[in-house]
């Protein structure tokens, strides 16, 4: 049962504006990461029809090199009342940053918080996604990348839990399918067939090329405001029903010794807490934006959330027909996702989760009322947010 505090938080904040920059091939942005961050916030303000000087809070995650105070100074805002950076966890922190902003505006710490993430290879270097993670206990043994870590976990999920590899393929195919209607997507005009997916070169087994996201230069931002202020802004608000972040027992700092090794990290108590706090369950979810650093951990997230059967039956849900907006029961990654739209540490998934409620998605789900955002899986920190068309369901 949701506590009184959770019920008070339910629908107390909403997103009233979204902004994205172009997605550039990594290393090719003509703008600095700071310029991209500011550009994304300016576009979100334009979407909300509010002056950018009114933004009074800033939140990001994953070692974003563009500190909130500097973003605010560059934008020339009137006042900065609140800012924060979610600790570690890479893309696992994306929904946590939204949740933190919601908590700030719900408790009067700020009135208009920009949640943003901006990356360029020129400013952040290659592999900025796993900075600070892989020490010598990994690199002395050939492990340098998140891809290899996620490959180890995925191999066990396939080999021991019996999850079919087709479930991973479905994540990739659904993203690429949706990206064909999204001119902003890096894979727009490049549909992915099962044959191309299966023939692609290995990265680290069981992950092949199209199981892995590609880094882009870019930025995106959303504006989080108190629910009682939504009439001051243009357009339909996407209410935040609730959110969770965290790390289960024996999860972080575990050097591949996590107790639930094939889980994405969304342990049972965390998932139950999310549904209770939001007053909805997995059957109420109309559309999912699922962080796919790699397809394997993305499937593990779906299993963790009870959105998909564990083990061999996973393909009952995780098949491409079921995951596309055209006739699928659970449309997933409707702008293309990290794999097919582009990868700026998952921030574009937030924008799309909001657009499914607010309007403007390249693949709108008819009458979507509950839009789930699942942050980076298999990271030391994981997080999720539920957006909805109404402050309570």
């Amino acid at each position: 049962m949701a506590s009184d505090r959770e019920r008070r938080f339910r629908g107390a904040a909403a997103v009233v504006g979204v902004g994205e920059t172009e997605l550039y091939r990594r290393g090719t942005s003509p703008y600095s990461a700071m310029q991209l961050a500011a550009m994304a916030v300016l576009r979100a303000c334009e979407d909300a029809d509010v002056s950018s000087t009114a933004v009074d809070g800033f939140a990001s995650y994953a070692h974003d090199s563009n500190e909130g105070l500097r973003v605010g100074a560059n934008l020339g805002v009137d006042e900065i009342r609140w800012s924060t950076l979610v600790f570690g966890g890479g893309g696992g922190g994306v929904a946590a940053a939204v949740n933190a902003a919601a908590a700030a505006v719900a408790t009067g710490q700020a009135d208009c918080v920009a949640v943003y993430r901006a990356i360029t290879q020129a400013d952040d270097g290659r592999g900025s996604y796993v900075t600070h993670h892989l020490g010598p206990l990994y690199t002395a043994h050939g492990l340098f990348t998140a891809a290899q870590i996620c490959a180890l976990r995925t191999q066990r999920m396939l080999e021991l839990d019996g999850v079919p590899a087709e479930a991973m393929e479905a994540v990739a195919l659904a993203g690429y399918h949706h990206a064909q209607r999204n001119p902003r997507a890096v894979s727009y005009g490049q549909p992915l067939t099962r044959r191309t997916y299966g023939d692609a070169r290995w990265v680290s087994s069981p992950l092949r090329l199209f199981d892995c996201s590609r880094e882009n230069d870019g930025a995106a931002a959303v504006l989080v405001v108190p629910a009682e202020h939504v009439d001051r802004y243009r357009g339909r608000p996407a209410y935040i029903l609730g959110g969770v972040q965290g790390s289960g027992p024996d999860w972080s700092e575990s050097l591949e010794n996590e107790a639930a090794y094939t889980s994405a990290g969304f342990h049972r108590a965390m998932v139950d807490r999310l549904w209770d706090a939001c007053g909805v369950g997995p059957d109420d979810v109309d559309v999912v934006q699922l962080y796919e650093n790699f397809t394997g951990p993305a499937v593990a997230s779906m299993i963790d959330f009870g959105l998909c059967e564990p083990g061999p039956a996973a393909v009952r849900t995780m098949n491409v027909d079921n995951l596309v907006v055209d006739g699928g029961r659970l449309p997933l990654n409707t702008s293309g996702g990290n794999l097919a739209e582009g990868f700026v540490h998952g921030i574009n998934l937030v924008v799309e989760a909001v657009r499914q409620i607010r309007g403007g998605s390249p693949n709108p789900v008819a009458e979507a009322d509950v839009s789930l955002l699942i942050g980076g899986p298999a990271a030391p920190l994981v997080s999720a947010t539920v957006f909805a068309s109404a402050p309570a369901t």
Partner: protein, 263 residues
């Protein structure tokens, strides 16, 4: 099972000889065109080759797994240093293209330590490793095995932690065959298999290390028993743990291609 015909071998021999000529002539466009179109970047980055190359000769042509044909090439550099490379050719649009390439003999990546070495909390592990012994962290108060290293015991909150020796024997808990050369130092050293191994004699903690034999001769399974041994690296005064499947001979230097398609 399909095996390459004499005609296949003749065709591939001609392709390989033309490839060698293109290489010697430094005709990059022609060289790239001999690879499967989506593979050439990964393959070239994964090879350790003399630069510039002064001579390339085809030293062998033989049937490979399935429809493939394998050729051995010897690359020579200006200093006379030679590298042997095995190319696997597959049928492609009426001709043959290279799907996979390997430096021979197969070598595994050397350990890489960040500048500044290892964090102090890991010292007990690495000092023992250099002496050919596996040690993992253990709480002196409640005897709990702890991995990765912590600053206090998460079970009893004792600050008295030590490193205890443990037999390097265990069971494969997870594994991956890495093909992409993520680091420049991996050139000539991919693919390789990393095994995460559960140690029953240390409370079931899991320790990752490279698995031998490698790279193509083995496809492990979760639950397979492995033994650890310690191989010298660098100037030879340091050692690193490698896992090896129990009861299997130690390589198989990668001469045969195996039939997984680990390009």
């Amino acid at each position: 099972m399909h095996t390459a015909t004499t005609t296949d071998l003749d065709e591939v021999r001609r392709c390989a000889q033309r490839h060698a000529l293109s290489l010697s002539a430094g005709d990059r466009q022609a060289v790239v065109a001999d690879f499967l179109p989506d593979r050439w970047q990964q393959i070239l980055a994964s090879l350790d080759l003399p630069i510039p190359v002064t001579d390339v000769v085809v030293t062998a042509v033989r049937p490979g797994a399935g429809f493939s044909v394998e050729t051995l090439l010897r690359w020579t550099g200006p200093d006379g240093g030679a590298r042997d490379v095995r190319l696997r050719w597959v049928p492609y649009e009426g001709s043959w293209r290279v799907q996979q390439a390997r430096n021979l003999p197969a070598r595994l990546p050397d350990p890489v330590f960040p500048e500044g070495g290892y964090p102090p909390v890991e010292a007990g592990h690495w000092v023992a490793m250099n002496q050919g012994e596996l040690r993992v962290q253990r709480c002196s108060a409640c005897r709990t095995w702890i991995w990765g290293p912590r600053h206090l015991c998460p079970r009893c909150r004792s600050f008295e932690l030590g490193y205890a020796p443990v037999a390097a024997e265990g069971l494969i808990f997870a594994w991956t065959r890495t093909v992409q050369p993520f680091e420049p130092s991996m050139a000539g050293r991919v693919p390789f298999v990393v095994a995460l191994v559960e140690l029953p004699q240390a409370g079931g903690v899991r320790v990752a290390a490279l698995l031998e034999p490698t790279p193509d001769a083995v496809t492990p399974a979760i639950g397979d028993p492995v033994d650890g041994h310690f191989v010298p690296f660098g100037a030879g005064d340091r050692k690193i743990l490698r896992w090896r499947l129990s009861g299997r001979p130690g390589d198989a230097d990668g001469q045969t291609g195996g039939d997984h398609d680990g390009q």
